[in-house]
């Protein structure tokens, strides 16, 4: 599975343990009428479960976290017991909807999985995505999967020429329709996987599809702004409804297939009578483009509709007014006149949170500035916010990245080596840290145990996501053995911190000091060496012992153990001299790598100049 050529990366998420609010748009909605629960599939990669009993103070019940990218679609199967989700992390996941844990992950898709379709009568689910593939899944097989018995047979429907954005299957599981950027609807028989027909008519991407129970009629909503009603028997479009100003992204229909509810880019939700399209009602107007709708089917006609948008809150809009309106027959037939929405206030709101919309990583690669949808700007320290509190000052020789990696995997049993017999070797390797390493982690700090750790291809697919504290689990441990790349093993298991890079540089008196130019000595030091240390060297070896300056050439840094003396020396040195690079005075806290990258900038060996302070 792991291709040696693909570089794997490790990432982690800084977050609260419980994220109670949708942090971004909500791509999909599902209602469980039996338990009065609403499932929301968020762009923040979390599926949340909400109680929709209106009297409840806090509707939040639980989060289902396992995806690592947008969750694009969800379907509730097996009478609400099982939830299936499709995500832009290219996986389809099977969840226990009641308990909220992930049962298995299906990795057959090669690109974003955009749409799911469900045939209730057969407990059959289809998934489709930007890889142009459609896979059919038997839900009962999926729920029976275990970690050991994890093979599943699937049938795939191919033939799509373009990325699929929408999918529908009738309740009986006899017809499946896909909508794509190809602009045509393709129809298959899921029982035989045979192509049935292509339906042409839309002039843009098809983003939403619905089928009636027996699969004879199909409704499609397209980015071209139209809704079309198709007869699959006649293989043609029966009617075209132009109710929206912009793309139609979401459709819902009543049981009788007579009234379509539509929403889209123009933020409006309409109810249109399919038999007399002039009879349309503007249900409501959202504050952002409508992504998905879910009818509350607790009664017929439906009493309410849930609407999600690119904003993080989900609203329930009452449809009662419409039914009164409909029964009165007093339609506003004038399509040209702007309709006024039936509802101006939602009946119920599931509040959302803010999401980060802009970020900037600072040059030190440690601090990040972010801006969220509420226009709050935050300053993050990727270490501190992960639990790092600087141990004994900031030792410049500490490899913070390595420590963090150790902290992230500290519960992984494999890192708990018994180092007794190897101790001698180990001590040398870890730069003289006096560790009796039987303890876990890095010995300095721990990350919050709820921190999600993600292994993935660089800039691509996610391979494995787990919480920091879960790495001790049997399954997770096993999966980690498969997933963790060698460079992480080196650090966390073998405790081999990467060697510091040495960089060569020249030290010369500054031209203003008038001192004679010494013979060019090529020095070499760790690129983590601070400028302070170089100043000490200059003070000690050149200014004080001017005569002997020739003799001391090479190593300044490789002689630990003279700490106390150096402390005084450092203070003295900083008082007396300064170092310059490209005529810029250097901060003693800077390390050589920083100097080379941000001040020297050019190629060739770094050249530093020293001079005595004029004051």
């Amino acid at each position: 599975m792991l291709d040696g050529l693909i570089t794997l990366q490790v990432s982690y998420v800084i977050r609260d343990e419980v994220e109670k609010y949708n942090r971004n748009g909500v791509n999909a909605l599902q209602l469980d009428p039996a338990l009065n629960r609403l499932f929301t599939a968020g762009r923040d990669s979390i599926i949340r479960i909400w109680s929709v009993n209106q009297h409840k103070q806090d509707p939040y019940i639980a989060s289902m976290e396992h995806h690592t990218d947008w969750v694009n679609d969800i379907v509730l199967c097996c009478n609400g017991k099982t939830l299936i989700s499709a995500s832009s992390d290219t996986t389809v996941k099977v969840w226990n909807a009641h308990k909220g844990f992930c049962m298995s992950t299906l990795r057959t898709h090669k690109d974003y999985v955009k749409a799911l379709a469900y045939a209730k009568d057969k407990e059959l689910v289809a998934s489709a995505g930007l890889d142009r593939q459609i896979f059919l899944w038997d839900v009962n097989t999926l729920t029976a999967l275990t970690a050991s018995n994890n093979t599943v047979t699937t049938s795939s429907l191919s033939g799509n020429k373009d990325s699929i954005y929408s999918l529908a299957m009738n309740q009986m599981g006899t017809v499946i329709v896909s909508g794509s950027t190809e602009k045509v609807l393709r129809v298959w028989d899921p029982r035989t996987c045979a192509k049935l027909m292509k339906l042409k008519g839309h002039t843009d991407n098809v983003k939403s599809l619905l089928l009636n129970r027996d699969g004879t009629q199909c409704l499609s909503g397209s980015s071209d702004g139209t809704i079309r009603l198709w007869s699959l028997g006649q293989q043609r479009c029966i009617a075209t409804y132009r109710v929206h100003d912009e793309g139609v992204w979401a459709l819902q229909v009543n049981e009788a297939f007579t009234h379509v509810y539509s929403g889209g880019r123009d933020r409006k939700v309409y109810c249109t009578d399919l038999r007399s399209p002039d009879n349309r009602v503007l249900v409501c107007e959202e504050k952002a483009p409508v992504l998905k709708m879910e009818l509350d089917r607790s009664a017929d006609p439906p009493p309410a509709i849930w609407v999600s948008s690119t904003k993080s809150s989900v609203n329930k809009w009452s449809l009662k007014g419409i039914h009164n309106f409909r029964s009165s027959g007093d339609y506003d037939n004038d399509c040209s006149a702007p309709l006024t929405p039936m509802c101006t206030q939602p009946e119920q709101v599931i509040k959302g949170g803010a999401s980060i919309i802009q970020c900037h990583i600072l040059n030190d690669k440690r601090h990040i500035l972010t801006k969220d949808t509420n226009n709050n700007v935050a300053y993050w320290d990727v270490l501190k916010d992960a639990g790092f509190s600087s141990p004994d000052g900031s030792d410049p020789k500490l490899n913070l990245g390595g420590l963090l990696l150790q902290a992230l995997l500290e519960y992984w049993p494999r890192t708990h080596i018994n180092p007794m017999e190897e101790e001698e070797n180990e001590v040398n390797h870890v730069n003289g840290e006096q560790e009796n390493r039987i303890q876990k982690g890095n010995g300095y700090f721990q990350v919050p145990p709820h921190t999600p750790v993600i292994f993935g291809e660089a800039g691509g697919r996610t391979l494995f996501r787990l919480l920091c504290r879960d790495s001790g689990g049997e399954t997770e441990s096993m999966l980690l053995n498969e997933t963790v790349p060698q460079w992480v093993i080196d650090i966390t298991v073998d405790k081999n911190m990467p060697k510091f890079n040495k960089i060569p540089f020249y030290l010369q008196p500054h031209s203003s000091s008038g001192a004679k130019t010494l013979k060019k000595d090529r020095l070499s030091a760790s690129d983590m060496l601070q400028v302070r240390k170089v100043m000490e060297h200059v003070y000690e070896k050149i200014i004080n012992l001017d005569n002997e300056s020739q003799a001391t050439s090479a190593s300044t840094n490789d002689k630990p153990g003279e700490q106390e003396k150096e402390e005084d020396m450092a203070v003295l040195a900083e008082e007396k001299i300064e170092l310059l690079c490209q005529d810029q005075v250097l901060d003693p806290n800077m390390d050589l790598r920083t100097v080379k990258h941000f001040i020297w900038k050019s190629g060739g060996d770094l050249t530093l100049h020293y001079r005595q302070k004029s004051t």
Binding site: W70, D111, D162, S163, Y165, E246, T310, S355
Partner: protein, 720 residues
């Protein structure tokens, strides 16, 4: 050959101008004789088919009476359109110049621009109170002037031919773009020598220089105004001020008058009576008429409308001026009329443009406000705007990047099949344009980062036309790099699978917004030969709005540059400019004929086979030795002709009978011209031949042609 040429050059520089004329004539005679011999056999062969020609004309011209005398005319004389002499492999230039000459609105625009520049030059003179030497004109202005000169000489030649048909029997109706070529060579040394060049390049070049001239004009205009107000407090300022106010007044008046005369003209259909009268009447009247004309032409109203829509430009200031003078209602009515005119006949537009051109001959001062509509004229006529639109498929938001374009370069066949596969299926132009404006999807591994979604998403990238120009130039990429060629030019081999060229074109499906406009093919530059650096260029032009051509009798008293002989007129462009230039142009012309001859023999330049394949039924126009004709003689003949043909002339043209004497002869001349309405003319340097539309289509179509294929297509905008 080159030796001979330089000899001529050096000799000519020291000889007086008159002698040059003689020598030129000598060369021309020789040349035409040669051509005569060359094409004699063909002419004989095709004589029977020649007989058919008038009959096909009958179908087009509704009045059969008028055709009877024309038949004899045609048999004896060439078609009444002016060719351009080849000055040594200059067919690339000639073909382009013919297109520009017949490009709707172009002639009038050049005349106006030239007039404007003349005026600014004059102003400069006034201000500096010193002689501004004509020869120190900026080169791009000079190009404008020489282009203008060429246009007027072509017009005059045509007019004098129409009035004086007999004088041109057996003669070649052609002039030579000598002065223009010289200017072009000075501007761009690439065009020195006698190498074949790319027609598309030279078109870009010329249009670029005209645009530069316009820009220079604009800036100089501003600077002179500045200088006036800054330095010259005295007379000049006062004069200009009173001039301005006066013209302002007249312009507002003319708004009404123009409107009035327009409608009158529309109803009566008379063009020239007014202009002739006006010429003799007071200047103010002329100005009124002129102003009306300048607002009338179909091109111009549309353009000014465009610029009204645009927030930029100087138009708002005009508007406010009108308002301040309480004339806004008049203005609006004028607009209405314009709109009507657009809907109605685009025919009258050309007429008015011509009228405007005449006015400029009268040298009435142009108002400064009037400049802006046509100072960026080249831009508006030939330049459109493309939009590169990237649309996120998730949120359907898009980002756009705009780019100006002058022409559309389209492939003639699919890239992968450039290998010499003879069974290439020829494609349609529509296919070619959709190749140009194809939609690209950003999918798979390298997704698009959408700033609205804050996510990597799929996206669509498409190229659309945002603004379409008056004239769309389609450049067919007929030349493909063949693998082995070291020299990039030699290596380009021709793809001889032409596209199906439609007469009408709609760009709507590639436009950002729906429009009712469509395009009509009006000219095609053909290329025959095998490589880009050799071969021959010819031009097909569709003759339209011929009845609006102002056929004007050239009077010596009115025109300082009288057309002595066609040839003399052609190479006497710089009369009133410096003598040195004239002599150079004359000599190099004389010298140029020879090299062209030589090259022609080498087979590079003139490929007779090329246009023979064009399945022409018509005979080559007879050629002969040119006769000298004086314009006064021409006048008399015309008058005579008029009295003979008056009855049918009036009937056919449907003009009013109370026209003046000269008027009717104009009508007659026009009537002759009208036979060619809707016909395609093939301009092959100095030769001009008639093509019926079906023959033209045949010539363009892939079945009949192997070496001569369309290279540049010119479509003009038509409003419905």
């Amino acid at each position: 050959m080159p030796g001979l040429q330089t000899d001529d050059m050096s000799a000519a520089i020291h000889t007086p101008v008159k002698k040059n004329r003689l020598s030129l004539k000598f060369f021309q005679k020789k040349d035409t004789k040669r051509t005569l011999e060359f094409s004699e056999s063909q002419a004989e062969e095709q004589k029977p088919s020649e007989q058919e020609e008038p009959e096909s004309c009958d179908q087009v011209v509704p009045t059969p009476d008028s055709c009877v005398p024309l038949v004899c005319d045609k048999r004896d004389s060439p078609v009444p359109f002016v060719g351009l002499n080849n000055l040594g492999n200059t067919c690339y230039l000639n073909s382009i110049l013919q297109v520009l000459y017949y490009c709707p609105g172009f002639k009038g625009a050049i005349k106006k621009l030239r007039n404007l520049s003349k005026k600014t030059e004059k102003q400069k003179k006034d201000i500096e109170n010193e002689e501004v030497d004509e020869e120190v004109l900026p080169m791009n202005i000079e190009l404008l002037w020489s282009l203008h000169h060429l246009i007027t000489s072509m017009e005059q030649l045509q007019s004098s031919f129409l009035f004086n048909r007999k004088k041109y029997i057996d003669s070649e109706l052609a002039t030579s773009p000598r002065r223009l070529l010289n200017t072009l060579r000075l501007l761009n040394p690439m065009y020195e020598g006698y190498l074949q060049h790319d027609a598309q390049e030279v078109l870009r070049c010329i249009l670029g220089y005209i645009q530069e001239a316009c820009d220079a004009e604009e800036s100089s205009d501003q600077s002179t105004c500045k200088r006036k107000s800054d330095t010259e407090a005295g007379n000049a300022k006062k004069r200009s001020k009173c001039l301005k106010t006066q013209s302002k007044r007249t312009s507002t008046a003319s708004e009404e008058a123009g409107h009035f005369t327009r409608s009158k003209r529309k109803s009566t259909g008379e063009v020239t009576a007014e202009s002739d009268q006006n010429k003799n009447e007071q200047a103010s009247h002329v100005e009124v008429k002129v102003d009306g004309a300048s607002t009338v032409p179909a091109k111009r109203p549309k353009q000014s409308k465009l610029s009204w829509l645009k927030p930029s430009g100087k138009q708002p200031s005009i508007f406010s001026k009108f308002r301040s003078m309480g004339k806004i209602s008049t203005h609006a009515s004028g607009k209405d009329a314009k709109a009507k005119l657009e809907e109605g006949d685009s025919l009258s537009s050309g007429k008015d443009e011509e009228a405007a051109g005449i006015y400029s001959e009268d040298k009435c001062p142009l108002e400064p406000e009037e400049k802006s509509p046509f100072l960026n004229l080249m831009e508006r006529m030939f330049q459109g705007q493309l939009v590169l639109r990237t649309r996120c498929l998730e949120c359907e938001c898009y980002t756009e990047r705009r780019e100006d374009f002058q022409d559309i370069s389209v492939p003639v066949q699919e890239i992968e099949s450039l290998s010499p596969d003879p069974k290439q299926e020829s494609k349609t132009l529509k296919w070619a344009i959709s190749q140009f404006a194809s939609v690209e999807r950003i999918v798979g591994e390298d997704k698009y980062f959408c700033e609205t979604c804050h996510h990597y998403t799929e996206a669509e990238r498409s190229l659309l036309f945002d603004k379409t120009p008056e004239v769309v130039t389609i450049h067919l990429k007929c030349f493909a790099a063949s693998g082995s060629g070291m020299d990039p030019y030699v290596g380009l081999s021709k793809v001889s699978t032409p596209l199906h060229t439609p007469l009408k074109l709609s760009l709507e499906e590639w436009c950002t917004r729906p429009s009712k406009e469509h395009y009509e093919l009006f000219a095609v530059v053909m290329h025959s030969g095998v490589t880009i650096s050799s071969g021959h260029y010819t031009t097909y032009v569709k003759m339209v709005n011929l009845k609006d051509i102002k056929v004007e009798l050239v009077d010596d008293s009115l025109k300082p540059e009288s057309p002595g002989t066609a040839a003399a007129e052609a190479y006497n462009p710089a009369r009133g400019y410096n003598d040195g230039e004239v002599s150079i142009s004359a000599t190099s012309k004389a010298g140029a004929k020879k090299p062209s001859e030589g090259i022609g023999l080498l087979g590079g330049q003139r490929s007779v086979s090329g246009f023979d394949l064009g399945s022409s039924k018509q005979a080559n126009p007879d050629k002969g030795i040119k006769e000298e004709c004086s314009s006064s003689q021409g006048h008399q003949t015309a008058v005579k002709n008029k009295s003979e043909r008056e009855p049918f002339a009036v009937a056919s043209a449907g003009k009013e009978q109370d026209d003046t004497y000269v008027e009717n002869s104009d009508d007659l001349a026009l009537c002759n011209l009208l036979d060619y309405e809707g016909k395609w003319m093939l301009f092959d340097d100095s030769e001009v031949r008639l093509f019926e539309e079906k023959d033209f289509l045949n010539a363009c179509s892939p079945e009949t042609c192997t070496t001569s294929i369309p290279y540049l297509l010119f479509y003009k905008k038509v409003l419905e």
